[in-house]
Point group: C2
Chain length 478, copies 2
């Protein structure tokens, strides 16, 4: 087919597509707030209605109940499964997105009402969920609409999986993916997720790797109750003293992890991989702007990105059980829990990480000769994700980027985790591609979240073209 | 006079005295809760009424307004000033107490309603404020009543200063003390404060020293906002990493302070002082029971008490600005404030402590080569207090203890601070004695606070006898 016709349609219908996004942003589908749960469900109904109007075959799946902190339960929002096209001669592409959003209040510092889509003079579409992840979800729907209106067939069978709990741990989704791996998702050839961002603000990218994360709770308990430092200070082993002694041996101020053996597991940097960092669209200014100050450890963009993407890091998040308010309190906390996590990369294995962490901490604690009691637990372990970036799924996406943007995409990884990526890859055993629509400065979880009009419109073209390029892949390229 | 007559009266009127304490406990004079302020005022009125009935001359002093956290103001409860006797031939004793109490809720774990005085089968008078500090205040009033009923003159002029904000920082009191030092308090010869406790549960004590406290806020800021550890971990200087590195160099797990120069200021332990630790009524079991576990650093009672009373200690209390809840959060906090304090002893000076702390921390931080910004502030500094324990004020009290309990009192110090002690000593330049009524296990700030019936009754005898012994002191002993 002529992509030009499709592009023309998208250009001509910008206002319609933005109206669709406006309607979606107006539904405050905040998954983390119980009171908003009906809005999350309403958002799923909006998607079902849009998809059915376009002729997709849609089902909603009940994924059970959520246990709340207060002991009550709340029905989880449904997972929307939709299929558009069912031709055995075509490839089948599974796309994932989430229709829930982060919380947002005008008082948090938004310049505009977060649940009203506003376009500013620079063409930024401001609103909660605009870029994370309603824009991308509607991108796929817009692609279907354009093809239907033009009387064109989609070049692939499109399967859609849209969840409403991503911002709250994707509760219920993994079970559904496993349940449907050999059923609803049985004929899927490749997976495409549009739920991340360009590295910077100017150049599209394809993302093929994410770091994993292992989260640890290091507890030290001693006294049977909190004590007064006047009465007991100097006479008992204080858990906070021990905690600081042990946890100061986890990571150096230059970011180097001090746990013996950790770096032995890290895949060496090959010359080929080193070259992928040569021309990435990333400037130190962008880091400074994102961080809000100039506390970068490294002076080169290359080092920054390598330490974000392909080396592990260790961060200390806080202490549970100690004094944390403003002001002065002279408490000797009886039991404290230090929280830290390690971002992991290939070929680190969670079990091995936990083993090395425990061994190191137990050995450091033993040196203290303290009568307090130490315990160390890994509370969460997610593996790093790494896809083969020369798989035809990526080749098709790269061609699509060139057709829409006239530029080769950056090949990027990310420092954080998107657990669903691994869930799909492991359950379906198919190549997964992260194909972002928004820019690195969209502020997905911040105030004044936005999606640039051009990213939305070019993004619709990109998603559509990607499907065409998938269809164009010859059998010998697969 | 015959102390026997006074003793007999006290024995015979136990029920009356306990009824007076019952009425006082029933007024929930919690100074830290704005909603209870009228009860605090009501408690002052109760004291005024009791004192006036006995013929004391009473005034209440307005000490101004309290600024609340929410920006509102609240009238401070009055300081009750009372005088009983005004004979220039007699010595004048100033006694201090506080009529406000700690908060208490049955739900906190009390076995009985905290604001109803209940005597259990072991003769414990349970109720909030029973021992801290309503029992001792009423002790003085009971002494006056006994003398008045017996037709006996008090052997000294008694001045009383009862405040209603002690549990909330004694707001307004220091100004009043300074204001009245040369006026209301001008003719005071010695000061007696009954607001602490026996070392253990069996033997009375006189207390002649308290540690001071210097509280520090160590802040480290780096990023302009909280960051996600996935995106930024490994690439920026994290304030928490720096904080742990610096604060792990404050105190060793064996309680030894690691700040160079700190111990140079500590008065050496003399042989004479060493001997005062020979026969103190204190067993390791009591420490274990108070702490709720066996995490004592030292194995001898002597070492424990010396490190509680006459050596400095350093405790780490917590971290402001970091993650502190249960669960996992992958935040890199942008600015964190480590809180720690140093308990100080003679001859440590707050200014010198702060100087040494700053020097040490700045030097440790410099070693880190971090781009983050450090700041260290002393938020509060209270000097240690040390009285001359062979002053006639103590001699009189020791004789009183022997007459009531047939035992020489332990001479003790305490690890905590009672700021009003220093305020009186500095403003009036008179000897101050701490003369406790309750036992070490009374649970002053805990659930099930109690004052043993025998401590209350013997305590009344003790306070009265102390006044008589003060009067007996010969000019040449002074
Ligand atoms: Zn998202
Ligand atoms: Zn998100
Ligand atoms: Zn008290
Ligand atoms: Zn108290």
């Amino acid at each position: 087919m002529s992509v030009a016709k499709f592009f023309d349609y998208v250009e001509a219908h910008q206002s319609d597509f933005i109206d669709r996004l406006r309607k979606a942003v107006e539904i405050p589908s905040v998954s983390s707030e119980a009171a908003r749960r009906p809005d999350v469900v309403r958002m799923s109904e909006f998607l079902v209605s849009e998809l059915e109007t376009l002729g997709a075959s849609v089902e909603t799946r009940d994924v059970g109940m959520q246990k709340m902190h207060d002991g009550t339960t709340l029905k989880l929002p449904p997972v929307v499964l939709a299929t558009y096209g069912n031709d055995p001669a075509k490839k089948t592409v599974l796309v994932y997105g989430h229709y829930d959003v982060q919380p947002a209040l005008k008082e948090d510092g938004w310049n505009t009402d977060p649940f009203t889509l506003v376009e500013d003079e620079e063409g930024r579409l401001l609103g909660r969920g605009s870029t994370d992840d309603k824009g991308p979800i509607l991108g796929w729907i817009n692609v279907i609409e354009a093809h239907k209106s033009l009387g064109l067939e989609l070049p692939v069978n499109l399967k859609m999986c849209f969840e409403g709990m991503e911002e709250s741990g994707s509760e219920g989704l993994d079970d559904l993916i496993l349940l449907e791996a050999k059923k609803y998702f049985a004929d899927v050839d490749v997976v495409c997720i549009s739920d991340n961002y360009w590295l910077g603000t100017t150049k599209p990218c394809l993302t093929y790797g994410l770091r994993g994360v292992s989260y640890f709770h290091l507890s030290i308990k001693g006294p049977g109750r909190d004590l007064h430092s006047g009465v007991f200070g100097g006479t008992v082993h204080e858990p906070m003293t021990d905690l600081f002694a042990v946890m100061s041996n986890l990571v150096a101020p230059n970011g180097k992890i001090l746990i013996p053996g950790i770096y032995d597991q890290v895949a060496p940097l090959t010359e080929e991989e080193e070259r992928t960092y040569d021309n990435l669209a990333f400037q130190m200014d962008e880091l400074h702007s994102a961080v809000g100050s100039k506390v970068n450890i490294f002076d080169s963009e290359r080092d920054i990105l390598q330490h974000r993407w392909r080396y592990p890091s260790l961060s200390i998040h806080g202490v549970e059980g100690a004094f944390y308010n403003a002001g002065d309190k002279t408490v000797v906390p009886a039991k404290v829990i230090g929280k830290f996590s390690i971002r992991s990369v290939p070929d680190m294995e969670p079990e091995k990480i936990t083993e090395l962490v425990k061994k190191h901490i137990e050995s450091e604690f033993a040196k203290l000769n303290s009568k307090n009691v130490l315990n160390i637990e890994c509370s969460h372990a997610g593996k790093p994700w790494f896809a083969t970036p020369n798989h035809w799924n990526y080749v098709a996406a790269a061609k699509a980027v060139e057709k829409v943007f006239n530029v080769k995409p950056d090949m990027t990884r990310e420092g954080g985790s998107i657990p669903v990526t691994l869930s799909f890859q492991d359950a379906l055993n198919k190549n997964v591609l992260l194909l972002p629509m928004g820019r690195g400065d969209d502020g997905a979880h911040s105030i004044n979240e936005k999606l640039d009009r051009s990213n939305y419109i070019q993004g619709i073209k990109l998603l559509g073209t990607y499907l065409h390029e998938i269809a164009e892949i010859k059998a010998e390229e697969q």
